[in-house]
Every structure is written in structure tokens, then in C-alpha cells.
Amino acid sequence: MVTITVCVGSSCFLRGASQVIEGFRTLIEREAPGLVELKGSFCMERCGNGVSVQIGDCIFADVRVEDVESVFREHVLPAVEKKAGCAPNVNH
């Protein structure tokens, strides 16, 4: 399971965290239902560069609503495919 964590602290919230979450939620349902977990965080200690988004171990700063789709395609989907590809090997 790939996890996307979006910061919803004051500063990220004012910069549109709820729309960013909504954007990810729509994309997950359409393209990778059940494979990505969406979570919130109260602070990623990067308040000056919101909205902060963490995918796996990487933190992305300054994510705006219009960036959501590209972040999803470039970073989330590959991670999902990588994990899905790993699964059969584990079973063997």
C-alpha cells in the first residue's frame, strides 16, 4: 500500500490543503482504487512552503491544486506499480 500524507496544519490549510486532498481522493478512486491510502498530518515542519505532501519517504513542498495530477502521475502511480510488481515475487 502506498501512502500519501497531506499536511492540514494552519498554514497548509490556508494554502488549499483540503482541495489538494480532494484532488488526490478523486484520482485514487479513478486510477488506483484500494491501492493508495490517503492520510492527514497536522504539521510536517515545513510551514513556510505549504502545501506539504509526503509520498513514501519523500516530502514534496509547495504542492498546489493544479500540481496534484502531475505529482500523482509522476510519483504515486509508479510507486503503486512497483509495489504491485513486487507482490508475485514475494509469493514465489
Binding site: 490556508l14 490543503a17 492527514g40 497536522f42 505549504g50
Partner: protein
């Protein structure tokens, strides 16, 4: 036992066709609680003037340390005489609860005050004494957690007269009603509203007299501690978190960075409840052992707005799940609130591209404290 909280609620009906209520209630709560109920002769303007003068004079003079006979004497010399009835008359009931939970009751011509413990009515031993020519019934007693007192004007007893009840609702039946209702109406406000609502129904919506209800509920004070903002010096983190955890009563953490600090100090996970996220309000969170975790400044500001607009009824807020409503709900039910405010600056909040909504946290907490104090709550604010 420590000092108990006396929660007071007043509800009134005005006689059908009148603009002013001829009953008056004065409540003063400081170290002690003083409640005065007066019913002026007749109804409308005249009754209103008599009753308000009586209330005001009694509460002011008693608090100034005067004895009851002086007060009654002054009343009979001061109240204007009615042209029609050639009388200067108003009833009164005085309830005074001292910090040691002892109570004094003085009643003159009002229906007897009900004293209840749990779901039972307790008999009050009353002694009659003459004060400046008037027979006043006095009683002294001690109050416990869970006790309640109900003061009414005779308009409540007369409810339904000639209709539902030949002779009106009557003291015994009102008493039976209170025993039943007190079982499910837990706060003073609801009990007062419930009793008055039934009075109104018995009058078929057209009260034949002014009717007043005062409910006083006695209970252990509810405490609440709110931690908002990390302290200025990081070395104080452990101290403020310990103060929060060692406080009695419910605990609230307001702020993203603050919740991380609490999680770190306690070694517990901080989870965000994304379901409570709305476009206009940040979501709430969860830390084991903390009753409510919210975002900071926006939630506090919204809570202040709700409080300033006047909290609806408590149980209306109870079913809302957003952070500000849950915070207001906890603040509303608390009697003693302690805010621990950290002064650490979040540099990101000074950024010019953010709206000015990010006001200073300490300023918002100060305003919150002032509003809550005006509602009779004991509020302390400490900064670190």
C-alpha cells in the same frame, strides 16, 4: 469537599397581552451565589417596576453587608404605592449559597422553593421570623453534589386553572413533575426550559399570569485545560505537556505543531481525522489520553466567533463533528478553564502571501477568555 458549582438558569413567561413581565430575577455570582426572585403586584408596567426595584435593592443591599430587616424596612418605605389597591407590595425569595456550600433561603409570599437531591424532593425546615412587619420564612441547609433548587413564581402554580386543572397545576403536582423531569434533564438550562414549556402548554399558549422559573443545579465543577501553542523555549516543552497531563478534567490540544510536541513528549501517535475536514475548517485529530485535538489559530478563531454569536443549545452542538464546534461544546460545559498558551512564533505565519486570518494566538485566547468569563466561568491564562 471543595467549593461546588451552582449553575443557574432563568426562564420567564409574560402574561398574555402584556409587554413586560411582572416578575424579576437577579442573579449575582462571585465567590458566593445570590439569586433573588420577586413578583410585583398585578401585571404589566407597575408590577415590573415593583419587582425590579425589589430585586435590585435586595441584591445590592445584601451584598453591601446589610441585614435583612434593614432591607425589608427600606423596601416598604421605598416601593411606590399602587393607586388602585393602595398597596406597595411585591413578593421575594432570596437564595444565597456560600463558598463552603452552605445555603440560606428567605421566602416572603412566593411559592415554596423546591429542594431536590437526585430524583427526590427534600423537606426544608423553615422558621418564620418577622422583619419590619412582614413574616419571612427562613431556612439554613447544606448542599451536596447533585442537589437542585427550583424557585417559581405563582404563575407556574396557576397554570391550567379552569382548564386542564380546576385549581391550577399546584405545588404538589409541580413537585412530582420536577422529580420525574430532573431524571433526564441534566443541566439547569434544560430543566428550566422544560418546566416553563409545560407551564405554557397548560396555559394553552396564553398565560393568565407572569410565570418565572429559576433552576439552580449544584455539582462538582467541571474542569478543562487547553494547551495552545508550543512554548517559546523548547526546554519548556516537557513541562507544559506534564502540566496538561496532570490537570484534572478534560484536556484539549489546539495546534498542529503543538499536537506534534505532545505526541513526541508522550511517545504517542498523532492521527488526523480526515473525515472532519471541511472547506472552511481544518480537521480534528486524535492522541490517546487527550479529549480533543484540533488545528490551532483557525479553529480557535472560529470557536470565538461561535461563542460571540451565542452558543445555540448545548445538545445542538453535541452532534457536530467539526473542530470549532467540538471545542465550543467542551468550553460551554466547563466551569473552570485553564489555557496554557505557548509563545513560540511560527515564522510561516508571518508570510505576506497568507491571509491576515493568522492573527496572534495569544490575542485570540485572550478574547476567548474574556467571553467565557462574561458567561460566569472561571478562566485562567498562563503563557510560556
Amino acid at each position: 469537599m471543595g467549593r461546588l458549582k451552582a449553575e443557574v438558569a432563568v426562564a420567564q413567561l409574560t402574561k398574555h397581552g402584556e409587554e413586560l413581565c411582572g416578575d424579576c430575577v437577579e442573579v449575582v455570582q462571585d465567590a458566593s451565589t445570590l439569586v433573588v426572585l420577586s413578583d410585583g403586584l398585578g401585571s404589566g408596567v407597575k408590577a415590573h417596576i415593583l419587582a425590579s426595584m425589589t430585586c435590585k435593592m435586595i441584591s445590592t443591599m445584601l451584598r453591601g453587608g446589610l441585614q435583612l430587616d434593614d432591607v425589608v424596612d427600606s423596601l416598604s418605605k421605598t416601593l411606590p404605592v399602587c393607586e388602585v389597591r393602595h398597596l406597595a407590595y411585591s413578593t421575594f425569595s432570596i437564595l444565597r449559597i456560600m463558598p463552603d456550600n452552605s445555603a440560606y433561603l428567605a421566602e416572603f409570599d412566593n411559592p415554596a422553593v423546591f429542594l431536590g437531591r437526585g430524583h427526590e424532593l427534600l423537606p426544608l425546615e423553615r422558621e418564620s421570623r418577622e422583619y419590619a412587619g412582614r413574616i419571612v420564612k427562613e431556612s439554613h441547609f447544606n448542599l451536596q453534589d447533585g442537589d437542585w433548587l427550583v424557585m417559581i413564581s405563582d404563575g407556574v402554580l396557576h397554570a391550567g386553572i379552569g382548564g386542564v386543572w380546576n385549581l391550577g397545576w399546584g405545588w404538589d403536582r409541580v413537585g412530582d413533575y420536577l422529580k420525574r423531569v430532573s431524571a433526564w434533564e441534566e443541566d439547569a438550562r434544560s430543566l428550566a426550559d422544560q418546566l416553563l414549556e409545560t407551564t405554557k402548554k397548560l396555559y394553552a399558549g396564553k398565560p393568565g399570569d407572569d410565570a418565572t422559573v429559576v433552576v439552580v443545579k449544584i455539582r462538582v465543577p467541571r474542569r478543562l485545560t487547553v494547551l495552545a501553542g508550543p512554548p517559546e523555549r523548547r526546554s519548556d516543552d516537557a513541562y507544559v505537556v506534564r502540566r496538561l497531563m496532570e490537570s484534572q478534567g478534560k484536556k484539549v490540544v489546539c495546534g498542529g505543531t503543538t499536537s506534534l510536541m505532545v505526541g513526541r513528549e508522550l511517545g504517542r501517535r498523532v492521527e488526523v481525522e480526515l473525515g472532519s475536514l471541511k472547506d472552511t475548517t481544518p480537521p480534528t485529530g486524535r492522541i490517546e489520553g487527550i479529549d480533543l485535538v484540533t488545528e490551532g489559530i483557525l479553529t480557535l478563531t472560529k470557536a470565538l466567533d461561535i461563542l460571540r454569536d451565542g452558543v445555540p443549545r448545548r445538545h445542538m452542538l453535541r452532534y457536530r463533528t467539526d473542530g470549532p464546534s467540538r471545542l465550543v461544546s467542551l468550553l460551554a460545559e466547563a466551569d473552570e478553564i485553564s489555557f496554557i498558551v505557548g509563545r513560540a512564533m511560527n515564522p510561516a505565519h508571518q508570510s505576506p502571501d497568507l491571509p491576515s486570518e493568522l492573527a496572534l494566538k495569544s490575542k485570540v485566547v485572550e478574547d476567548l477568555a474574556r467571553v467565557l468569563q462574561s458567561q460566569g466561568k472561571e478562566v485562567t491564562v498562563t503563557t510560556h
